[in-house]
């Protein structure tokens, strides 16, 4: 069995064959990097979709391919060394991988925007914040310098930066970390895009500020009815904000579920391991659980299930056959909408 065969019949996380209704529909996306040591397969057949007003959290550890998928959607992947051998990225039903560079550029910022992890390094140090915010309007809408600046002040007010009018000509280094991330959010929001991809938006922030920024993001998303893809490795951040979760491992989606169901009853040993490794107050004094081993080398992904060397439940079949993302059902066979697991033993994992 080849990878293509397996991924072709993977059900989309949510029902529906047509992508017409979906805002963004990623289908069987593969991304590889051609390096000196060989081909690193960073993304191996990812399927996910987001509707307007919906929040999808993509969860996974470093190197699981979550950021690379986002970069492929944005079209900011460095190619070469990156390559997209197969897959479709449908935005409102149109395949963005088939568009011209100019068409894609017009979508970026206008229809799909991105929030980056480190706001300090993502803002140009030599340009004032107001200029960078106003640039969005000048590039995409051809506004004058003055009108763009007025819009910038408006945006800064919107993300609740105090004294926006006085601070609009300040430079990034004059803002605190939380304020900088608000500016990044304002930049992404500037043209009221349909979809926002937030790549670990709170990782570089203080814990107290994290909650504020997430709350702001969620609120603005509701207000504009945007789709949001939240990329994170922080299970705590996800719980409050996301509608559904896709867990990634070694470039594949191993489990999808509505957010609370995942926490209640994980259907993949990897997800279970992640949840067990969250420190809990009622297990004070005990040793914290950790998933043994390391994430696989993307140049040599293990045969069969990529998780098998680290999995406590691994059997012989796990070392030979790649598990398909199958719909997860109740014990009596009644369907659980939106749930899927790529494990040969999902039944045992969820019901056992």
């Amino acid at each position: 069995m080849t990878i293509t065969d397996i991924t072709a019949d993977v059900p989309a996380p949510r029902s529906g064959e047509d992508s017409g209704g979906k805002l963004l529909d990623v289908r069987d996306l593969h991304v590889e990097f051609h390096t000196r040591d060989g081909i690193a397969k960073a993304v191996n057949g990812v399927n996910y979709s987001v509707d307007a007003g919906e929040t999808l959290a993509v969860l996974g550890e470093s190197g699981s391919g979550k950021s690379v998928t986002a970069q492929a959607i944005m079209g900011i992947l460095d190619m070469p060394p990156g390559k997209i051998p197969q897959g479709e990225i449908l935005f409102r039903g149109q395949d963005m991988l088939k568009m011209s560079a100019e068409e894609r550029r017009k979508i970026r910022g206008n229809k799909i925007a991105m929030i980056f992890q480190d706001a300090l390094s993502s803002l140009n140090p030599v340009l004032s914040v107001g200029y960078q915010l106003g640039e969005m309007f000048r590039v995409h809408q051809g506004l004058s310098k003055k009108a763009a600046k007025a819009k910038a002040v408006e945006l800064m007010d919107r993300v609740r930066i105090p004294a926006a009018k006085e601070r609009v000509s300040d430079y990034p280094h004059q803002f605190s970390g939380g304020m900088r991330q608000r500016i990044m959010i304002a930049m992404a929001l500037a043209l009221e895009p349909d979809l926002i991809i937030a790549d670990e938006p709170t990782t570089a922030l203080d814990v107290t500020v994290q909650a504020q920024v997430m709350e702001l993001l969620a609120e603005l998303q509701r207000e504009y009815h945007m789709g949001l893809i939240l990329i994170t490795h922080d299970l705590g951040v996800v719980a409050d904000v996301a509608d559904k979760i896709a867990v990634m491992y070694a470039g594949r989606i191993v489990e999808t579920a509505p957010v609370h169901e995942l926490y209640k009853r994980p259907a993949h040993p990897y997800t279970r391991g992640l949840l067990d490794s969250i420190p809990r107050l009622d297990r004070k004094g005990q040793e914290l659980y950790a998933i043994k081993g390391l994430p696989p080398n993307l140049l040599k992904i293990p045969t069969g299930c990529a998780f098998n060397p680290r999995c406590p439940k691994a059997q012989d079949i796990c070392r030979t056959d790649v598990p398909v993302l199958e719909p997860v059902t109740e014990q009596d066979g009644s369907p659980l909408p939106g749930r899927g697991s790529a494990c040969h033993f999902w039944k045992e994992t969820i019901h056992g």
């Binding site: 550029r105 609740r160 105090p162 107290t208 500020v209």
Partner: protein, 319 residues
């Protein structure tokens, strides 16, 4: 402080608008004036005595080069060999015709030093500007687009780098019978652009992978905007430094070429050709050599000192 009260009232307002959301706590006090990196560097420079001295000197030299006639009424081209043949300098006669003495054809050396500044400065500045624009563009092209363009431009700079600067310009200039400042400028720029290209290429390569460039791309900025608005201002600092320092070198190169008789044609006044003339009298009348040579040294020193101060101000590691 009026600024502080304004800030607090504004943040209260913002909090009131926010309603139920938590009050933002991480708003710092508003500084009096926003400062860019350039303004930061300027503040540092103003306090640096090295920069103040060299800067004033450069301004003075530029002023002399622009209006030499304001400083003397003597002619730099017409002398009286009978009366003033190799006349000794009279250091007490400040700003007078015979302050620096006379040369072999009885011309006032003071006037010649003043008028010679213009050609030296024009060649030095002109070559620097040409080299910075052309070399900078080539460097940006090579650094940003990489691949084929990078290989092509890099090999081209390698070829030009292999040609000795002075020897090469001598060969080029030898082909011209009448050598104006423009010809000399062109010859020096033709052989000198490679250094800036290398510096610019390196700076652009480091900058183009910066997160803010990726972010600008993700938010829909086009290639030209990314290149000139986001990369250039962040990559220009090392180029400015190399350019200011090499300005002195170009002035020396022009003088060297004039000394060798391959610089400006005989009818134009230049420190280099005056130094060349002075060498024949070096034993008995050293002043004919010393004054133009001194003017050249001071000018080059001023530009190099200024370049060094600028480098210090723009170098983030030294802050």
């Amino acid at each position: 402080m009026p600024d502080l009260t304004k800030t607090s009232s504004a943040s209260e307002e913002a909090a009131a608008v926010a309603g139920s959301t938590p009050v933002i706590t991480d708003a710092g006090p508003v500084p009096e004036k926003p400062r860019s990196l350039g303004a930061d560097a300027w503040r540092g420079l103003r306090r640096n005595p090295l920069f103040v001295i060299s800067g004033l000197l450069v301004l003075l030299i530029l002023f002399v080069a622009a209006f030499p006639g304001l400083f003397t009424s003597a002619s730099p081209t017409i002398g009286d060999p009978a009366k003033h043949f190799l006349g000794k300098p009279n250091l007490g006669h400040v700003f007078q015709e015979d302050w620096f003495g006379y040369d072999g054809t009885g011309r006032s050396l003071y006037a010649r030093v003043l008028y010679g500044a213009r050609n030296s400065i024009i060649v030095g500045l002109g070559v620097t500007i040409l080299v910075t624009i052309f070399g900078g563009l080539m460097g940006m092209l090579a650094g940003y687009f990489g691949g084929f363009w990078d290989s092509l431009i890099s090999r081209l700079t390698d070829v030009f780098f292999g040609i000795p600067f002075l020897l090469g310009s001598m060969v080029v200039l030898n082909a011209f019978t009448h050598r104006t400042v423009w010809v000399v400028m062109g010859a020096l720029a033709f052989l000198g652009w490679t250094q800036i290209t290398r510096v610019m290429r390196g700076a652009v390569i480091t900058t183009k992978h910066a997160d803010y460039v990726v972010a600008a791309r993700a938010l829909g900025a086009g290639t030209r905007r990314i290149l000139f608005r986001h990369i250039l201002p962040n990559a220009i600092a090392p180029v400015i430094v190399v350019a200011t320092i090499s300005l002195g070198t170009y002035i020396v190169a022009e003088s060297t070429l004039s000394y060798l008789g391959l610089g400006l044609s005989d009818d134009s006044i230049s420190w280099g050709s005056d130094i060349s003339d002075g060498t024949q009298f070096i034993r008995n009348f050293p002043h004919v050599l010393l004054f133009p040579a001194g003017a050249l040294s001071i000018t080059v020193l001023a530009f190099i000192m200024m370049g060094d101060a600028v480098r210090e101000a723009l170098d983030p590691k030294l802050r």
